[in-house]
């Protein structure tokens, strides 16, 4: 808790001082790479924390995936619009019963150490995740077997049609194709070997990870000689590093300074809407939150614009459903206008008065702490007294798992397919349904949409799901945040992605 206060306090002081001090121009760039003609230089990137480990199948930390995005490949991968495009697999076919998918692998792909990547590696990687019950095993829930009839063919057999199989096999690098010998030697945790555009050069614990260009990469050769990731926890310090030229890229920007940075011209800062969403959940295993009227009352009492302004400094789009506007599965539905009178009526209908509600937030995500204060004052207006509990994330997760909460605020990051947006959270048997929502109609729809192969029908089913979840106020959705990243004027070819994947493969550095 104190660390958040310290960061916020520090950032505020820094804001005042930066305003006074103005901006300094960067000095020379500190690059360690090879000099000479044609050399692309080394880009220094500051990320907000250190990866816990670099085994793509075992980490769940975003910091790890920021690095691994540039090191590993998946069979398919999301393009800028999050549609699945060929990567290691060049094409694929589906059997008529939708139960067998056959992937054709790219010819001549090599790992960064020069050894060939074949269908056996794909089988090994998927089997490792499934048999080891590793973090992404849930993405293979319907996979019956993975086989390799020849070196460039992979056959995935399913127990049920799985229309979102491509998103499961390529949505992010947590399902990357790893090298068996690298895993068995244990080096995968610190020196993973992949087939991506860069390879791990060195890893100095607590300090930096150096990537070097992978000359065996199958795609267009990266222009950079390498990328060095450093771990800078404090956003003010990270921004100072960017301005001073110590780093050329960071996503750890002080949110309150982003609007000014967008207008300024000393560094490039871009924002795009993300596919993340933040929400409020009320514990339906506890009274009176099992009453839909109470949940709807809370939904009507909230002024989402005000919450977004306070928590995200406006860098977000309010949304009463989960899926953001830029997705093909976006469903426009916003039945809750800010209406305290309506909220009070609903509470009366439920026979609830003098309600005191715990709201659990975590210092791991400071925006929940800030938002909680605004939410508390808005709910006070309808006579609901909020007790904010600020916990560190470990304790927060513990309490959530045990069901020890009236309500909590959190976000879901990096979802691609609608199944990921709804199933685990709102199916009565879902693994993330900690708030105990249960609606048989929603269960049925979710089960059906999961295996629906007609895309139009599937979209329509998910719209029904979305409407019901919003009407039931299973989650009270608040906003989709923007992704904000900044880079120096020397950097070209970088694009901010809505799924927060950090790709340096097409980036060049002017020197």
């Amino acid at each position: 808790m104190s660390s958040t206060r310290f960061r916020l306090a520090g950032a505020t002081f820094a804001l005042m001082l930066v305003a006074v001090a103005g901006c300094t121009t960067g000095e020379g760039v500190d690059v360690d790479g090879a000099d000479g003609a044609g050399a692309g230089g080394v880009l220094n990137a500051a990320i907000g924390g250190e990866p816990d480990q670099l085994d793509p199948h075992k980490t769940s930390a975003y910091y790890s995936f920021q690095v691994l995005e540039n090191v590993y490949d998946t069979l398919v991968e999301p393009d800028a619009n999050l549609e699945m495009k060929p990567s290691l697999a060049t094409e694929w076919t589906t059997s008529d019963d939708q139960l067998t998918w056959t992937f054709t692998l790219r010819e001549g792909v090599k790992f960064s150490d020069g050894s060939p990547l074949t269908s056996a590696d794909v089988v090994y990687s998927y089997t490792r995740i499934i048999d080891g019950k590793l973090n992404t095993a849930y993405k293979f829930a319907t996979v019956k077997s993975v086989t390799a009839p020849d070196p460039t063919t992979v056959v995935v057999a399913l127990t049920a049609p799985t229309p979102n199989l491509l998103a499961n096999l390529g949505g992010f690098k947590g399902v990357a194709i790893v090298q068996k010998s690298n895993v068995e030697s244990g080096e995968v945790t610190t020196k993973p070997v992949g087939s991506g555009p860069f390879a791990i050069g060195s890893y100095s614990s607590g300090d930096n990870i150096r990537l070097v260009r992978n000359d065996n990469y199958w795609g267009d050769k990266p222009k950079l000689d390498g990328v060095t990731f450093t771990f800078v926890k404090d956003p003010t310090v990270a921004l100072q590093n960017l301005r001073g030229g110590e780093v050329q890229w960071t996503d750890n920007l002080p949110p309150q300074q982003v609007p000014a940075l967008l207008d300024g011209d000393d560094v490039n800062v871009r924002t795009v809407p993300s596919s993340d969403y933040w929400y409020l959940a009320l514990n339906q295993a506890r009274k009176p939150y099992d009453d839909v009227n109470v949940r709807r009352a809370v939904a009507f009492a909230l002024d989402r614009e005000a919450i977004t302004k306070a928590a995200k400094f406006g860098l977000a789009t309010v949304n009463q459903a989960a899926i953001p506007e830029n997705s093909a599965f976006y469903y426009e539905y916003a039945p809750y206008r800010h209406d305290p009178n309506q909220a009070r009526q609903l509470l009366d209908q439920a026979g609830v008065s003098d309600l005191t509600m715990d709201l659990m937030v975590t210092s791991e995500y400071p925006e929940t702490v800030t938002a909680a204060q605004v939410i508390a004052s808005q709910l006070e207006a309808i006579g609901v007294n909020i007790k904010i509990r600020t916990l560190d994330f470990a304790q927060w997760l513990d309490e959530q798992g045990k069901g020890n909460f009236d309500s909590f605020m959190l976000g879901w990051l990096g979802n691609v397919d609608p199944d990921e947006f709804y199933y685990a959270q709102h199916h009565s048997g879902g693994t993330f349904n900690f708030h105990k929502y249960r609606n048989p109609a929603v269960d049925q729809l979710l089960d059906r949409a999961r295996t629906e192969t007609d895309q139009a029908a599937r979209k329509q089913q998910y719209e029904q799901v979305a409407k019901q979840i919003v009407d039931d106020a299973s989650y009270i959705y608040l906003y989709n945040p923007d992704v904000a990243q900044g880079w120096s004027k020397q950097v070209s070819g970088y694009e901010v992605r809505t799924d927060r994947a950090i790709r340096f493969r097409d980036v060049a550095l002017a020197r």
Binding site: F13, A14, Q53, S60, N135, S205, V237, N241, A394
Partner: protein, 314 residues
Amino acid sequence: MARFVIRRLLQSGVVLLGVTLVVFLLLQLVPGDPVRVALGTRFDPQTYEALRARAGLDQPLVAQYFNYLGRALTGDLGVSFRSGRPVTSIVLERLPATLSLAVTAVVFAMLIAFPLGVLSAIRSGSFIDHAARVFSQFGVSVPDFWMGIMGILLFAGVLGWLPPSGYVALTEDPARWASHVALPAATVGLVTASILTRFIRSSMLEVLSEDYVRTAEAKGLRTRVVVLRHVLRNALIPVVTVVAVQLASLLGGVIVIEVLFAWPGIGRLTYDAVQARDYPVLQGAVLLVAALFLLVNLLVDILYARLDPRITVR
């Protein structure tokens, strides 16, 4: 002397054993489940159980402790929950960064505190005395993270003389190491200097009022000689303890400063380990810090005998 050292080392062993037990038990009281943290929001009961088993957390507490202790005796402090890497090497990797920061900070602090403390004692009530007292009051009351941020904004931002954060190993490039260590060491050193200045001043004043000082002055010795030979030497004895304790606590890592300056030392490691409930790493870091503390204390006791022949080690 040798017997003294051996006995102290044996005692230290008992203390360290106590440290492992206390840390182990305290960690059980801390709410928060390391496996839940490792999985983050992507929670899945099967994965959860598998990971718990891999980390050995499904075993009874007593078994967990004795397994840990047994391996610790052979220098194996277990493996990190987060990274799966051996704790011994994780912790030892971080030592040089913390060591170089702590030593630089203490040297910096002594360079300020000795002249300031001595001068303000022998010129008690003068302008320099007042200045020294204001300085030390400032140093102990202003939060170090604030000073750190001010330092970054001034020296890295406005003046552009120093890098705002980061680390380069001393062995890799001494010049770049120095430019990176300057800000964090000065930030930590200012706080330490404030404490030391106060202490040196009061210790000096105490000795200055002793009879033998008056005698020395009455003998007609020059002030220089009185101060250096009679006062400073005697005033140093308690100061040595304070410097040693300061150094030892800095070796434990200056958590806030290491986090702020992205300094890859023990303090930052401890911070990350607490956040992730990475018990093995936390235990390893605490054990190492405790061992360093005991070692520094042992050295101080030996140094005492050198400074004051009246003290003998038995």
